[in-house]
Amino acid sequence: MRATSQGMDMTADKAADAFVEFERVQKSYDGETLVVKDLNLNIGRGEFLTMLGPSGSGKTTCLMMLAGFETATHGDIRLDGKAINNIPPHKRGIGMVFQNYALFPHMTVAENLAFPLEVRKLSKADIETKVGRALDMVQMKAFGGRRPAQLSGGQQQRIALARALVFEPELVLMDEPLGALDKQLREHMQYEIKHLHERLGVTVVYVTHDQSEALTMSDRIAVFNDGVIQQLAGPATLYEKPENAFVAQFIGENNKLRGRVENIEGSHAVIALDNGPKVKALAVNCGGIGKPTLLSIRPERVILGPEAGETALKGRVVELIYLGDHIRCRMEVAGDDEFIVKVPNNHAHAVLQVGEETPIGWVVDDCRALDAA
């Protein structure tokens, strides 16, 4: 729970000192549909904010508007208190890392790094020391004379990072920078970027569609869907307390049970599942009595066997998959055979057989009644 409180604290004090502000920003490409609908977002100084969402959700458009490559159809974007809508990209002083690195193939690594300094007309000596320092920062000191094509994907990624940081911008934008790397390298680079951010204290706006990447690195995550921020919160909050069905579905694995609100008692609701039994759940976003709702339960929060307790339902094991650290158990619950339970692989876990029926349950607050999306 430490992570949660830390995340929440940051949220509080970063948002107060807004460095980047989107105010009622809208964007349309064709004049018929809005790609970004009424975006309001404050990003604090030194914050690592991730825009997360499926493709076409408007997250990259937001980033491009911030960088200056797209103009907002309506609304203001402010950087450090100044409206930047009419400032061309090259005067914004924002560092940017691109999806495919965009390292200039006709220049060496050192020339690539020197480029932003040269256009700022720094002296030769200054450029040399800064380039050296930036290469040092990403542990690529020995590679200054190489061409980008002679580097591996991970090395190119580091150079792209160093190039975006070498002119010491206060804000760095990253557009799915790790998308082209393999899984292992991607995870390694996630930590590296995170540490770099902590060390330098720059503000980072990061765009990705990979939720684990977002959870690993971010102070706060803005989950985008359909041009709207669905939820803006720290990683722990986002995972544990999703506010709507989209976020619950998009972040992590999630079991959903459809039902109708039968009764509301304070912060809890009684839900009648479509296929029979009634369960109690935390009323988060479920509307009034009689409204359809979607229950969301994380697979690792499901309790199996005799300890299932107050909300016990019957579940029938359909499939068991051994995954080492846990056993993935697909069950049929209330007519839905996509119900997943993660059984930790420890001495205490229940021994299950395919076809077996077992009582299942959860702590009431772990079952969240959300909008029926």
């Binding site: 960088a67 200056g68 490559f69 061309p88 990209p89 090259h90 005067k91 914004r92 002083g93 924002i94 560092g95 940017m96 691109f98 999806q99 495919n100 965009a102 200039f104 193939p105 006709h106 480029f115 932003p116 256009v119 700022r120 190039r163 975006a164 002119f167 934008l173």
Partner: protein
């Protein structure tokens, strides 16, 4: 592991499972597929060999080898070749010549021999044919008899010219292509100043090619960029417009330019209508390029003399003389030649009187039948060869490079010049090389719209092929052209690197 492998190969060759060395086994395995691949390209290879390589080799040889004389004049050829070209002409040489003249007259080959010698020394044709008619009745001493028939036989340089014609393998044609003269005694001298035309022609050919290449680049680069940047539908439409010239006959396109650019053509009409001709005239006068645009237009007029006569006309009309300036200038010049300054003045005044009838200010420019016309038409025809390689290269430059440059603080221009442009160099190189090499050997357009000063070396080669029938000189000119092209190819490889070329 790597070390042990190298060691094994060093000590003993690796063996395949059946004991043969691995290398040979691999070669055997690849041989069949290689043969099959060769079989696929064999027809094309044979075709290229038959219609391209062999003709090129043949014509390169033709530029050095002309056996017309040696084949038909068996008696005089060995004696002429043995002659040093300095010592006096002997009776023996004359006797052999008379025998040969009789021989060639009998088998009706004298015309070809005479033509061949005429290439070395003009006037030889009539000398040979008339002497051959009289040869049968000639009595010794033959030298005197020959001189009686035509007194040119007494000149040593005539015999030297015949000696050159009698030598089958000769550098004479290649030297002639470079404006040198190869005499019978083996000496090499420069052509007389008024006959030095080839080098100037080569220089002009290269100049036109260079201007066409640069024009194609300047006009084509933005179009290629537009093609690469526009959305697919619009880009396709534009691409069709770019390719349209390819689908039209080159003759039609060139003729269209004649209609556009001629004196009473669309462009001139338009300029007169808008008054643009006056603007251009004023500007060109500012830069003192008056003569280039108007009077001379390379119609063979002595520019300085024409200019000298024009002040009179200018005095009369203010800034510009009336009518078509080319014609006007020529008329004033003619008047100047006949009646001196006063003649020119009175003619200019006569022109001034008729200026009212012509309408003042309809000066028309000579834009066709000269170098300008050749450059315009060739630029138009060769433009796709520049645009297509550029386009294919630009298509591969991701837009994120420009964005990256701008995000790092580069202005539009810096981003273009430092990031975009260098990455299009392979396309520029390919396009420029393609256009230049095509232009340097261009024939049909200069022939149609080149007039006098827009002619290129190919037109000269054509002249020697079809008119003067001096095939060996045509071959030598072509050979020099080929060497020039290869030289530029080599230069390109040195500067840009041929691996950097991207044709698509």
């Amino acid at each position: 592991m790597a070390e042990t492998t190298t060691e094994t190969t060093k000590n003993a060759p690796l063996l395949a499972a059946d004991g043969t060395p691995l290398r040979r086994k691999l070669e055997q395995a690849l041989f069949v597929s290689r043969m099959r691949a060769l079989g696929l390209v064999a027809p094309l290879l044979a075709f290229i060999l038959a219609v391209f390589i062999i003709p090129i080799v043949y014509f390169m040889i033709q530029g050095m080898h002309n056996p017309v004389y040696a084949d038909r004049m068996p008696n005089s050829t060995p004696i002429l070749q043995a002659w040093d070209g300095q010592s006096p002409v002997t009776e023996e040489m004359a006797e052999a010549m008379v025998k040969d003249l009789i021989l060639t007259r009998d088998n009706r080959e004298i015309g070809r021999v005479a033509t061949r010698v005429n290439q070395e020394f003009s006037g030889a044709r009539s000398m040979f044919t008339s002497s051959a008619r009289k040869a049968e009745r000639m009595e010794p001493p033959f030298l005197e008899a020959l001189v009686d028939a035509d007194k040119d036989w007494g000149k040593q340089e005539v015999w030297r010219a015949i000696k050159v014609a009698a030598t089958s393998w000769t550098p004479a044609y290649y030297l002639a292509a470079l404006d040198f003269q190869y005499a019978g005694d083996g000496s090499i001298t420069r052509q007389d100043a008024e006959r030095r035309i080839h080098v100037a022609l080569f220089v002009r050919t290269m100049e036109i090619s260079l201007i066409v290449t640069i024009s194609c680049f300047v006009l084509g680069y933005p179009v290629a960029w537009l093609l690469a940047e526009l959305p697919v539908r619009k880009a396709n439409l534009l691409m069709i417009l770019v390719l349209l010239p390819f689908w039209t006959s080159i003759l039609v396109r060139t003729t269209a330019w004649i209609a556009m650019l001629q004196g009473q053509g669309v462009m001139n009409d338009l300029m007169v209508f808008t008054g643009l001709n006056q603007v251009i005239l004023q500007i060109s006068m500012l830069f003192n390029d008056y003569k280039d645009l108007t009077v001379s237009s390379l119609c063979g007029i002595d520019v300085n003399a024409a200019l000298g006569s024009i002040p009179a006309a200018v005095e009369k009309f203010g800034a510009s003389p009336p009518g078509t300036l080319t014609r006007c200038g020529a008329e004033i010049l003619a008047a100047f030649e006949q009646g001196g300054e006063s003649g020119a003045r009175s003619h200019a005044e006569a022109l001034a009187a008729s200026a009212q009838r012509w309408g003042y200010g309809d000066e028309r420019f000579s834009m066709i039948y000269n170098k300008l016309g050749t450059i315009i038409a060739m630029t138009h025809i060769l433009l796709p060869f520049m645009i297509l390689p550029l386009y294919s290269v630009m298509k591969t430059v991701p837009p994120s490079y420009l964005r990256a440059a701008k995000s790092m603080g580069a202005t539009n221009w810096t981003a273009f010049w430092r990031v975009y442009f260098p990455q299009t160099i392979p396309g520029i190189g390919a396009g420029a090389l393609l256009v230049f090499i095509l232009a340097i050997g261009y024939y049909i357009t200069p022939a149609l719209v080149g007039g006098q000063d827009g002619q290129m070396i190919s037109n000269f080669i054509d002249f020697h092929m079809r008119r003067s029938l001096n095939w060996s000189l045509a071959a030598a000119l072509g050979g020099v052209l080929l060497i020039i092209v290869l030289f530029f190819y080599w230069l390109y490889d040195r500067i840009v690197g041929i691996d950097n070329m991207k044709l698509g």
